[in-house]
Amino acid sequence: MTKKRWFQGIGLILLVALGVFAYQTRQVSHAGQSITAVGSTALQPLVEAAGEQYTGEHLGTFINVQGGGTGTGLSQIQEGAVQIGNSDLFASEQKGITSKQLVDHRVAVVGITPIVNRKNGVQNLTTQQLTAVFTGQVTNWKQVGGADRPIVIINRAQGSGTRATFEKFGMNGHRSRTAQEQDSSGMVRQIVATTPGAISYVAFSYVDKTVDALHLNGVAPTEANVIDNHWKIWSYEHLYTNGQPTGLTKDFIAYVESPAIQKTLVRQLGYLSPDQMHIERDVTGKVTQIGGAR
């Protein structure tokens, strides 16, 4: 009994000593600043990759990037719980965001295209046709010149940035009828690829051989068409800060906006850089010409 006590005591002392030793020898330089960015899952890979590069170059910093969805990102930045809110939408487009404090930093442009199952036999639709398909006025592909096959609509979840952009610019603000909803692009693509008659919409970077991207009014969904706004379905990706950023947050956002990221990571990940755009679009959809690609 007493022997056991002795061993327990010695064990405890050793453990405490080990803890103190570990604390004393910790790398002070690495325990420096850290910031957290939360929000859009679509934007997460970009910010994460940029964060890794940044911390690699600036020892002593740590950038914690998490998903959770645009809604989560905006509500957390509004409450000041995190330093950066990643969003697919303008903050004022998101219901429930009231803060005037939020500062927008557009770090990328993402093009969105309708995708269909490869066997639908349709390559091109007009905006009217697309709207008719998603509002349910047309229910079979043969009505728009395709195979005789019922249309299966797959939406993104309500409140998703991709869906909001698609409805606003692809369907002229009409609302899609209630149909299947999926909460991620990967799922949407997989379902469209395997479900006959399916149609949905994803960012350019998700288009692959398994699905067909549709032309709209004869315009192909390409980056070149997005740059001069011939392809209208696109949106900015935003990093929001609560008030003007300071310290590490400011440095990091500047880094993401710098050519070091804009010319490499942003394009590798399938986005366009706002610097490439010939035009600028505000929250109301008003388009202004700007200088052109730098």
């Binding site: 899952t41 998903g67 959770g68 969805g69 645009t70 809604g71 989560t72 905006l74 509500s75 509004q78 409450e79 998101q94 219901k95 429930g96 965001i97 299966v152 979840a157 309500q158 409140g159 998703s160 609302r175 209630t178 149909a179 299947q180 909803e181 999926q182 909460d183 799922m187 997989q190 379902i191 395997t194 479900t195 006959p196 008659g197 399916a198």
Partner: protein, 313 residues
């Protein structure tokens, strides 16, 4: 005489001294009670949290409870013709119930059959193969179930039953496999609780093994078996990720088993990241969570009721 009285007094002292055991008992009570208090605090916190957010839809956003429970349109972001937000949860409630009841209907014969096999027919193989197998099934993560559902069950349903493959039927198949182990192991427990001599008496009367199982063992275990089924239903009702991947998530009243539909959990998990805390859209989702919570309460009460009836018999 005097000597005796002092010895009584000393015995009394010894008997009234707090022994080590008594001290340990107090310590044990305190320790275990505080653990319980901690759990209860957690439960109360979460339930209170869900309830306060869920009720906000009705108190802060002034949605009527009746509209919520009977409305068929779920578009919390949009106002209808009367300027009221569309928060009708009926289609999801129906979806949840349908999928739960259907999967329980399919799972019950399988689960009870397997439990009977494990317990009555081949206890040896039961212990060696079936029990580990069912326990393994419990352990497979629901994400994995979901992906198998998506890549196997959905195409299967599409080719056999038509439609897009997404819908209540696919969800039922996936949930069937998911609740099977729970119901099986609880049924096996119920059968194990039937005393040996019931079987022996019946077999001694010349009944066949099946007659014994059917007329004696299953009858005696009925309350336990019902508890197992209701419990499985409760699990099915709360399952989220796997169902969400195969049911299609369309907040529409289900017209057929192969049309996309939605359950409370699927809408809740899909939407929660895309809404802003405190907004109507977000509160409405919490109201769905509250419905889930209340349903879970109902299932529990049913289990308890069955248990009580079983005891009375």
């Amino acid at each position: 005489m005097k000597e005796q009285s002092t010895s009584v007094a000393s015995l009394e002292r010894q008997l009234k001294k707090h022994s080590k055991a008594a001290k340990l008992e107090v310590w044990g009570r305190v320790v275990s009670f505080s653990a319980l208090v901690l759990i209860v605090a957690v439960v109360v916190a979460i339930i209170g949290f869900v309830a306060s957010k869920g009720i906000a839809t009705f108190t802060t956003n002034h949605v009527s409870l009746w509209d919520f429970l009977t409305g068929k349109n779920w578009n919390p972001g949009i106002k209808d013709a009367h300027g009221k937000p569309e928060v009708g949860a009926l289609s999801m409630i129906v979806g949840s119930f349908l999928i739960t009841i259907l999967s329980a209907l399919i799972a019950t014969p399988f689960a009870i059959g397997t439990a009977v096999f494990m317990n009555e027919i081949s206890p040896n193989r039961g212990a060696k193969i079936l029990r580990p197998v069912t326990e393994l099934l419990v352990g497979i993560p629901s994400v994995v179930y979901g992906f198998i559902g998506l890549s196997v069950v959905v195409p299967f349903t599409r080719s056999v039953f038509g439609g897009s493959g997404f819908g209540i039927l696919s969800g039922t198949f996936v949930l069937f496999v998911m609740v099977l182990p729970t119901v099986t192991s609880m049924s096996a427990d119920a059968l194990r609780a039937v005393p040996r001599f019931y079987r022996e008496a019946s077999l001694a009367l010349g009944a066949t093994q099946w007659q014994t199982i059917y007329k004696v063992v299953l009858r005696a275990a009925t309350p336990g078996l019902m508890t197992a089924v209701v419990f499985g239903m409760a699990r099915a009702f709360g399952e989220a990720l796997a169902v969400q991947m195969v049911i299609g998530n369309a907040a529409l009243m289900p017209h057929s088993l192969v049309d996309p539909a939605a359950t409370l959990t699927s809408v809740l998990t899909t939407g929660i990241g895309n809404t802003v805390m405190g907004s109507l859209q977000n509160n409405a989702l919490w109201s769905l969570a509250l419905v889930l919570l209340l349903m879970s309460l109902v299932f529990n009460l049913i289990v308890r009721l069955i248990g009580r009836k079983g005891r009375l018999q």
